[in-house]
Symmetry: C2
Subunit: 259 residues, 2 copies
Amino acid sequence: MEYTVNQEYTVNQLAKIAGVSARTLRYYDQIGLLKPARVTEAGYRIYGPREVDRLQQILFYRELGVRLETIREIVADPGFDELDALREHYRLLVQQRARLDKLIATLAKTIRHREEGAPMRDEEKFQGFKQKLIQENDAKYGEEARKRFGDQSVDASNAKLMGLSQQEFEAMTALSEEIMALLKEAHASGDPASPPARKLAEKHKEWLTYMWPEYSEEAHAHLAEMYVADERFTAYYDQAVEGGTEFLRDAILSYLGRG
Amino acid sequence: MEYTVNQEYTVNQLAKIAGVSARTLRYYDQIGLLKPARVTEAGYRIYGPREVDRLQQILFYRELGVRLETIREIVADPGFDELDALREHYRLLVQQRARLDKLIATLAKTIRHREEGAPMRDEEKFQGFKQKLIQENDAKYGEEARKRFGDQSVDASNAKLMGLSQQEFEAMTALSEEIMALLKEAHASGDPASPPARKLAEKHKEWLTYMWPEYSEEAHAHLAEMYVADERFTAYYDQAVEGGTEFLRDAILSYLGRG
DNA sequence: CCTTGACCTTGACGCGGCGTAAACGTTTAT
DNA sequence: ATAAACGTTTACGCCGCGTCAAGGTCAAGG
């Protein structure tokens, strides 16, 4: 298998690389979305490097559910800046992932409720889905004031926890959930020195023992500060309740007598 | 606005709640996917609580791109356990999000390459998309040995960094990217005590000063250990290169003289 | 009681984005 | 020279609805 960069491809070759069907490429040719670089005298479609890049762009948009016709208009636009477009893709994808996050959250909630036999309001059951409408709208009429912060988001999903046994892992996971629940409860009290807040901090310490080879108060305090400063954590703990990360920090600091 | 739990709904009412069209509900009735609980003598469709739950299930599957026909078979299965199904949804959604993560990563890579004008192998350009095929296949023929670890993944996307000025944030972001690049480079050397690895550790320390109110070697060392144990970080740093997280830890520990 | 408007019904057509099959030409390997 | 592996066009079909059109039903008000 040679590594060929920027070569020419026939339909099937490009199809294989891009993970689409040859038929799809012919269709894209037909509707004028992606014309081959040239056509041999026998009528064979030949795609060059520019077409490869363009196809990539197209597939990005397609991934977002944009109609092919619209995609064509977008990439045909003379004012079309590829890099800008890519950044826009990026933004939309991150947004779409956020929607997935909500769906997952809804689902987790549903599962929890079912497991406990507790009822759930019907509106709640569809929380995650509705996001989609908003988002599709935004995908159409986007372009606005989007210099917001959140864009450079960091993700850390779907990784494997290494170095822990299955049992330890499960124990940790259970603890995690407990912490989230406690956070919610304690936050409601509003006081980081309240009994539930202390319990929260204790559970958090317990959880830390799974994570760290040895526990020290100093490191724990540092960690608490880091939580607030690091978006990877704010996002995580704010899932439980808004402002949850800060509350957790305050609770920990209070617990450690450093409040 | 009253909060009604477990009521009965007409088509449009249910449609509004679930965020789908009335036509969709009629279509689902037509193809036998979701029959109303009962029909009035005038022919009006009336949906009850069970149908609401079922619709939720259906929409979860639909979200995964499963064909309606297939969905019907699944939920019509007498051995169909709702809770199990929900858990399966959960797993699939998490998986789908993982695919999105890859897409986002591919896109980020593309942007970086474009910005630097560096070429990229054509195969790389489609990395993110191909996942989809694998995943769709899995959605169809799933059910297998899936007691793997990664499922309970943790996410931390789309959050706002609080308490930092725009400038600080940008400086930090730049540092972050530098660290990722260094990690890649240093990892290639294979030696956590090598000069590039030392530089990596230094940069990481520098970055920490943005995060922590005060720096201590002990906390730094703890953090390094945590990186490896916490999936939120392994996933993050393994983006740069596989095994990157462990290498980063080793580099830091070596730098601190605790290797 | 009758009307009005907001709901509900059942058809029927159409569309986007291809999959798939038929019938046929071209290129490459042996 | 021939077979196998490609390529081509044309055409029909499918799914998951959106979108009319043509009409029945129900609660409220005159």
